[in-house]
């Protein structure tokens, strides 16, 4: 093989690998960009508490983010699952312990206690009156707005079964599904912000 032939082969090889490398890099940059831009506009909330004030904060942030064009997903677990119940009678066919959970954790947003100064309902009543007076949106209004703006709610299946909460006991909400920690982690890893409330 002449010196010239050798050089030619080397140049060809180099050109080939450069093209390959460039294509590979372009593909990786594309993928990264897609991940970054999709993440930029997604908020994930883990709602753990059933306390009225914390639920207010959770739904205010969720509706505000949805209004700002963010994709929002909320994951309800533990006590917060019970807060999603409608007011009214418990479903039939529950065990004694499940019924007790139902009594201790009543449904309806108005029945949820404040984390501070609830004073056996006095604080809650005063807070409600002040909110009315100052034209602050009620929790029910915030939930309805969240629903309208497409906020997604995932409910912890384990908490549902632990507390014996039946799907028919939960509020009417369009984008609501029952899921576990893997779904919550999947949704939160797609977001750039995850809050635990």
């Amino acid at each position: 093989m002449s010196h010239f032939q050798c050089e030619q082969i080397m140049t060809d090889l180099l050109a080939e690998t450069t093209v390959d490398r460039t294509a590979e890099l372009a593909r990786r940059v594309d993928a990264l960009e897609r991940r970054l831009t999709s993440k930029e506009n997604t908020l994930s909330l883990v709602v753990f508490s059933n306390e009225f004030d914390k639920l207010m904060a959770a739904f205010t942030i969720a509706t505000g983010a949805a209004a700002c064009g963010m994709k929002v997903s909320m994951f309800f677990t533990f006590w917060a699952t019970a807060a999603l119940k409608k007011q009214g009678r418990q479903a039939g066919g529950k065990s004694i312990v499940e019924r007790m959970f139902g009594w201790i954790l009543p449904g309806g947003f108005k029945k949820q206690k404040l984390s501070k100064l609830d004073m056996a309902g006095m604080g809650r009543w005063m807070m409600g009156r002040e909110m009315d007076r100052k034209n602050i949106a009620s929790l029910e209004e915030l939930v309805a707005s969240a629903d309208e703006l497409g906020v997604q709610i995932g409910v912890c299946e384990m908490a549902m079964s632990l507390m014996g909460i039946r799907p028919e006991e939960l509020i009417n909400y369009s984008d609501l599904d029952y899921c576990g920690v893997a779904t919550m982690l999947d949704r939160s890893s797609e977001s750039n912000t995850t809050l635990f409330i």
């Binding site: 505000g64 700002c68 963010m70 034209n135």
Partner: protein, 79 residues
Amino acid sequence: MTNVSEIDLTGMKCPMPIVHLTKLMKTLDDGDEVTAFATDPAFCLDVEAWCKRTGHELVELVNSENRVSAKICKTETQE
């Protein structure tokens, strides 16, 4: 033709002004203008942030005597 409208958000508190604004925006066409009036002290900063996030153009923002008026031009963002 550019559609010009107004929305009264006076008396509403956070987050309802931007929630109502968002709902209205969905019914408008690209390039339409809306002037929003609000009394929520947080609205002045919030409407700027809201425009930044949603991509709508904040044409004019006036804050006087506890009353904020914001003129916004609907801008469709390319995904």
